[in-house]
């Protein structure tokens, strides 16, 4: 998802009997749905896995501003521009909620920023695809934010207090994002032939990458079992992907658009849609840094950091000057 390939301990899940008393007490609290708070004892693996997951999630929110930011100056109307600005600003806010949640685990903001800028930290594969037309902004809100909601709603109940609270804030704001995207799609789908084609083209390009947001298939998802035992991951990747397909296909039908998957078919027996295999090679390539926009995204973040240095320094100088004046009085 926004944290797609979070490495955990790499070991199997221990049973309660294999745990020492401290870890056992910890696991029993998680099993009883009691929240874990930052200052409390936690296994090292829990802390490390959560730092990876929450920081990846935060980085995704921050990098996620870039594909949409591309269209702020070219939005078709002033209204659309104001709405898109507000949406992108929300993403920045979501990144900040999440960075703060990660910091409660003992990692510093500077460390996380450094890891993002050096390319060491990962972020969601989806943001390495380009936004070629205005319809892509509609498709992102509808599909990408739709997929994000599907993933984030259950994380509101996760075991770590600060992460759960950050998710509650995020989810409150996320529905606006999806609806503004779908609203763009409705407009285009009911517009001229050229506009309808543009909407279809955006759906064609974003459908498969959106499904990949949920991460690799369950049988390849080696770290899921531990994360689920710790309740920092609440559903398997395939469960959420299926749920997303089931909810989204009728929305595409309403728009009169065709989901680009010849294998997509309602399966009466299962009560779900069947859908075609995804190209997991593409997914792993994008994760590794070889997607269409990986370099551009990272360069944009690096440039923002470097270009903003004088401003950050100015704020510090101002704060220091004022503090010294107060001290002198």
């Amino acid at each position: 998802m926004y944290a797609q390939e979070v490495k955990s301990t790499g070991k199997g899940v221990k049973s309660l009997d294999e745990m020492d008393p401290q870890e056992r007490a910890f696991q029993e609290r998680i099993d009883a749905d009691i929240k874990i708070e930052p200052k409390e004892w936690m296994p090292d693996g829990y802390r490390k896995t959560l730092i990876r997951q929450i920081s990846q999630h935060a980085h995704s929110e921050i990098v996620g501003q870039l594909p949409e930011g591309n269209w702020i100056t070219r939005a078709p109307t002033l209204d659309r521009k104001a709405i898109l600005l507000a949406k992108v600003q929300d993403e920045a806010g979501h990144g900040l909620y999440l960075y703060c949640a990660a910091e409660t685990l003992g990692v510093s903001r500077d460390q996380m920023t450094e890891d993002l800028l050096s390319g060491k930290a990962k972020y969601s594969s989806i943001f390495n695809y380009p936004t070629l037309t205005w319809a892509d902004i509609g498709a992102i809100g509808w599909l990408v934010d739709g997929a994000a909601i599907m993933n984030q709603v259950p994380i509101q109940r996760c075991s770590f207090g600060p992460y759960s609270r950050a998710m509650i804030r995020v989810c409150k704001e996320e529905s606006f994002h999806q609806r503004q995207g779908y609203d763009i799609m409705i407009k285009l789908a009911n517009g001229t032939n050229a506009q309808k084609e543009m909407a279809q083209d955006a759906l064609n390009r974003w459908w498969h990458p959106s499904l990949m947001m949920f991460g690799p298939p369950d049988d390849q998802s080696v770290h899921s079992a531990q994360s689920m035992a710790w309740k920092i991951k609440m559903n398997t990747n395939d469960e959420l992907r299926q749920k997303f397909v089931d909810e989204t296909v009728p929305q595409a039908e309403y728009l009169g658009l065709t989901v680009p998957d010849p294998d997509l078919k309602w399966n009466e027996e299962r009560g779900h849609y069947d859908f075609g295999e995804l190209d997991w090679n593409e997914f792993y390539e994008v994760i590794k840094g070889n997607g269409p926009c990986n370099r551009e995204r990272l360069e944009a973040r690096q440039r923002a950091w470097t270009d903003g240095a004088w401003f950050r320094e100015g704020l510090v100088a101002h704060a220091e000057k004022r503090a010294s004046r107060v001290a002198a009085e």
Binding site: E37, K39, E40, W41, A86, Q89, D90, G93, L96, Y97, C100, E103, S108, R109, D110, T113, E114, R165, A166, R169, E173, A309, R312, E313, L315, V316, H318, A319, R322, A323
Partner: protein, 94 residues
Amino acid sequence: MSSEWPLWEIFIRGQHGLSHRHVGSLHAPDAEMAINNARDVYTRRAEGVSIWAVKASDVVASAPGEKGPLFDPANSKVYRHPTFFDIPKEVGKM
């Protein structure tokens, strides 16, 4: 990288006269910027009418290990809850 800006804990009072409530934290070089940033990060949807920003390093917190001594005594004093007392039906609402 520069030395990190201090962390501030942010408290917001909503519109309905309730007390300030902790909403999260943020980094800012000074108090004024902490308030400015808090407005942008935590009140984009008219969530509040007042902001408190407190340096995280100034917050004194109880330790998780003190949970027992601090809070357990309250468990044995259930009579503090009004439902502890049975009031006869005939008395009506009380």
